[in-house]
């Protein structure tokens, strides 16, 4: 039931932001479409903890996001530096890195976070490991250190 | 004024993407280039809507982002299974 | 108002016979009786028109249907039409009589179809003879083509089909490519298609245009078999003899030459044609047609194809008369329509009789046949003499007046042509009785004529040739009495 409410709120806010016209007729249309989409998603049986991981919205998430943005900036600068510097500025390499997350959502967050930060891309994902391509060996080693892996894991709990 | 500079930068990068699309030895380089072109268009539309002072164009930017993402995924799915296999799939339920 | 009723009856009568024939299709005697009776009745109707129409010539038109404003299908009593109507309605019953003997003797299948289309053809001929305007003439001219096509391809064999193909392509072809533009051209330049003695064209229409139209008509009326569009006549030899009789004597060719004369008299007007620059060429064309056809006829060993080319030549006489465009010449050509009809039909009857009785179709096989089929060959001789134009047969009159017409119009060379062609006629026609009577008969040959109805029909037409000699003068007076200018 929680998830249904969250879907409804998401749809309603999406409608209100995009509409810009708040006359009764249009609002009723919005309501109707939100309800209709709710009905559809229920029929497709996709409203569950996986599509709406509400359990993650604890205090830990913002702090992870802040850290992630930091990582983002750092890795962006790193890649930009390599783009502008000379020939052998990059040392592409790949490796299977272990991952410690238990739930699927956790693994996806970890893989996405890897891919999000430029310099590293999660190319394949399995239950206990992820195949990563890195622009440089240093990038790969930073990742191997496991800082990101640890942070995502305690997000899960 | 700044917005125009950004727009120009975006267009230049889009030109680079097209260059990569022509050069790109493998199919995947070309898909990367097209995807890059698409995401930059989204930004270009957003910037242009502010150059023309019509923020309601942002809806177009959002829609373009949606379409671009789905097209890339559709193309990848086609290559993922190879052209003939796709037809077999279609053949079964066709 | 009697004329209009009679005209309608003349048209309707043969058509009414059609359902009768169809219903009686499995009792041949009744079926043939219907044809005969209708034929006789039709002849009587035409006779009434003849006597009644003495004064009423030209009035009493009846409009059947109006296709466009001023363009209608209408019937009218004209002297030319009356003459043609009389000949056709006279020969229909006779040919039917002959057909009974021939068809049964020869065991032809689907005879019903023959009598049905024969009746339709006669109805079309009536419509053509009594047409009130050029459009009506053209409509019935086409119906004659379509109703005779199944007769020509009666046998249904590949040869018959090939003959039918030439027949149709030439007749329909000339009518589509020449006759229609001529007719529409007349409508365009004259504004009307109604028959008017003296012609429909105003003075402002240039002779060049008139010449072109006349040539278009000459070639467009393919049934007049003017060379080079005569090939359909020999090609139609594939048909059984009664059909050839219909084609050559009763309906088809007569419709052709009748149309040519009608066009000359009622569309252009005799005086106009006389003055046209093109006329001399048409006269020479007709003359060439006469001579060439006679030469070709001489070389034909097949009896019916010789008669076919002879018809092409004789038709040349009639068109020649028309193009000479003088009172006498026109009268001569009209007379020749009658003379040739009875003469040629007799020859065809003989051809059919010989074929049915002895399966002989090549002239070289006729040695001594005179003793075997005396009546047939006597009749043949009478018919042949009439066509050659020797007294006491009717043919002499028409030849005579044609020559007078040529003199009036100043074409001396035509005199030569006519006399030479008469000589040629003698050669290719009298060869047959010569072989039949002078050559020794095949041994053990006994007299064996064809079936009596055929012989009777043959006798009637042969005697008519003689009668026409006697009454030739009255016929000529009737023709001259008609207001042609």
């Amino acid at each position: 039931m929680k998830h249904t409410v969250s879907v409804f709120l998401l749809l309603a806010s999406f409608w209100l932001i995009n509409s810009g016209y708040y006359k009764p007729l249009l609002l009723s249309f919005g309501l109707f479409s939100a309800i209709f989409v709710l009905y559809l998603t229920h029929r497709m049986d996709v409203i569950d903890h996986e599509s709406h991981p509400l359990h993650l919205f604890t205090l830990k998430l913002p702090s992870y996001y802040v850290w992630l943005v930091g990582q983002l900036i750092v890795s962006n600068i790193d890649v930009v530096k390599r783009v502008w510097s000379g020939r052998n500025s990059i040392s592409p390499c790949t490796a299977w890195l272990p991952l410690s997350q238990t739930s699927d959502i956790g693994r996806v967050i970890y893989a996405n976070s890897i891919t999000l930060t430029p310099g590293t891309v999660a190319m394949d994902l399995e239950d206990d490991r992820v195949y990563v391509h890195a622009l440089s060996r240093e990038g790969l080693e930073d990742l191997r250190a496991g800082e990101m892996d640890r942070r995502v894991r305690n997000l899960e709990r | 004024m700044i917005l125009t500079v950004v727009a120009i930068a975006l267009i230049v990068v889009m030109a680079m993407a097209i260059a990569r699309a022509f050069l790109g030895p493998t199919i995947y380089d070309r898909i990367l280039a097209v995807n890059l072109f698409g995401t930059k268009t989204v930004l270009l539309i957003a910037v242009v809507s502010y150059i023309f002072g019509r923020p309601d164009f942002l809806d177009i930017a959002l829609i373009y982002a949606l379409i671009n993402f789905i097209s890339v995924i559709a193309v990848l799915r086609f290559f993922e299974y190879g052209s003939d296999k796709v037809n077999e799939k279609v053949g079964e339920d066709g | 108002m009697m004329e209009s009723q009679l005209l309608l009856i003349a048209l309707a009568l043969p058509l009414l016979a059609v359902p009768g024939i169809l219903l009686a299709r499995n009792s041949p005697n009744l079926r043939e009786a219907i044809s005969l009776l209708t034929g006789v009745a039709l002849f009587i109707v035409n006779l009434c028109l003849y006597f009644l129409g003495e004064d009423g010539l030209g009035e009493g038109g009846v409009v059947l249907v109006e296709i466009l404003p001023r363009l209608a299908i209408s019937l009218e009593l004209q002297p030319l039409g009356l003459l043609f109507g009389l000949v056709a309605s006279a020969l229909w019953p006779i040919t039917t009589l002959y057909a009974i003997g021939y068809m049964r003797g020869h065991g032809e299948d689907n005879q019903t179809r023959f009598y049905v289309f024969f009746a339709v053809a006669i109805a079309a001929v009536m419509g053509l003879a009594y047409a009130g305007n050029l459009f009506t003439l053209f409509v019935f001219y086409e119906i004659v083509t379509f109703s005779t096509y199944p007769l020509v391809t009666h046998a249904g064999t590949e040869k018959a089909l090939k003959g039918g193909r030439t027949y149709l392509s030439l007749l329909l072809g000339t009518s589509i490519v020449f006759f229609i533009p001529a007719m529409i051209g007349t409508w365009f330049f004259a504004g009307t298609l109604e028959f008017q003695p003296g012609g429909v064209f105003g003075d402002e229409v240039s002779p060049l245009v008139l010449s072109v139209l006349l040539v278009l008509f000459a070639f467009g009326i393919g049934k007049a078999a003017l060379m080079p569009f005569h090939r359909w006549l020999p090609a139609a030899m594939v048909a059984p003899t009664p059909v050839s009789a219909l084609l050559h004597a009763v309906a088809v060719v007569k419709a052709g030459v009748f149309s040519v004369v009608t066009v000359v008299v009622y569309i252009f007007g005799i005086d106009t044609v006389a003055k046209l620059p093109i006329t001399p060429f048409l006269v020479y064309l007709a003359s060439a047609s006469i001579l060439l056809a006679s030469l070709v006829a001489m070389r034909q060993d097949n009896f019916k194809s010789r008669l076919a080319y002879s018809t092409v030549s004789q038709l040349g006489y009639i068109t020649l008369g028309a193009f000479l465009a003088s009172q006498a010449a026109i009268a001569g050509s009209l007379l020749h329509i009658v003379m040739h009809a009875f003469g040629k039909i007799t020859l065809f009857f003989c051809a059919g009789a010989i074929y049915v009785a002895h399966h002989k179709s090549q002239i070289s096989e006729f040695d001594g046949m005179g003793r075997v089929m005396p009546v047939t060959f006597v009749a043949f001789t009478l018919g042949a003499l009439s066509i050659i134009g020797l007294p006491p047969l009717g043919g002499v009159w028409s030849k005579w007046f044609l020559m007078m017409g040529a003199l009036d119009s100043g074409y001396v060379v035509v005199l030569a042509v006519l006399s030479i062609s008469s000589l040629l006629n003698i050669v290719y026609l009298l060869e047959i009785p010569a072989r039949a009577f002078l050559k020794p008969a095949p041994e053990g040959a006994t007299v064996q004529e064809a079936r009596t109805p055929s012989v009777v029909a043959m006798a009637i037409t042969a005697l008519m040739c003689v009668a026409l000699f006697v009454y030739g003068g009255d016929l000529y007076d009737f023709i001259r009495s008609a207001r042609l200018t």
């Binding site: - | 023309f52 002072g53 019509r54 309601d56 164009f57 037809n87 279609v90 053949g91 066709g94 | -």
Partner: protein, 115 residues
């Protein structure tokens, strides 16, 4: 010359589109050419609708001068028609592929050559 550049684009696209339709043997690529050709016409309509200084013809307070809305509306319909045609064409190509095993025109014609 500057203000005629849109017509150049229109003509260029039109010719490119028609060339592809004629030159290409692949049925799908022919459709791509057809689409380019149609797009060129759409660009012609919309570019001629532009009123210098006029903003997009969606009523917004604060704007006085708008570009001409009519051609743009017409082209909305034309786009819908174009998509309908393309959908039907692709459906046909799909069935042709299944029936002939190929979408190359010469291969198809070869198979249908009356023996």
């Amino acid at each position: 010359m500057a203000e005629y550049y849109n017509y150049l684009v229109v003509v260029l696209l039109m010719v490119v589109g028609l060339y592809i339709v004629m030159a290409q043997a692949n049925l799908v690529k022919k459709l791509i050419g057809l689409n380019i050709f149609q797009t060129s016409v759409f660009i012609f309509y919309i570019s001629t609708a532009k009123v210098t200084g006029g903003t997009a013809p969606i009523v917004v307070d604060g704007a006085e001068l708008y570009s001409n809305p009519l051609p743009q509306v017409l082209i909305l319909t034309a786009i819908v028609v174009g998509i309908a045609t393309m959908a039907l064409a692709l459906a046909l190509v799909l069935r042709i592929k299944r029936a002939y095993g190929s979408v190359e025109e010469d291969v198809i014609l070869e198979q249908d050559k009356p023996c």
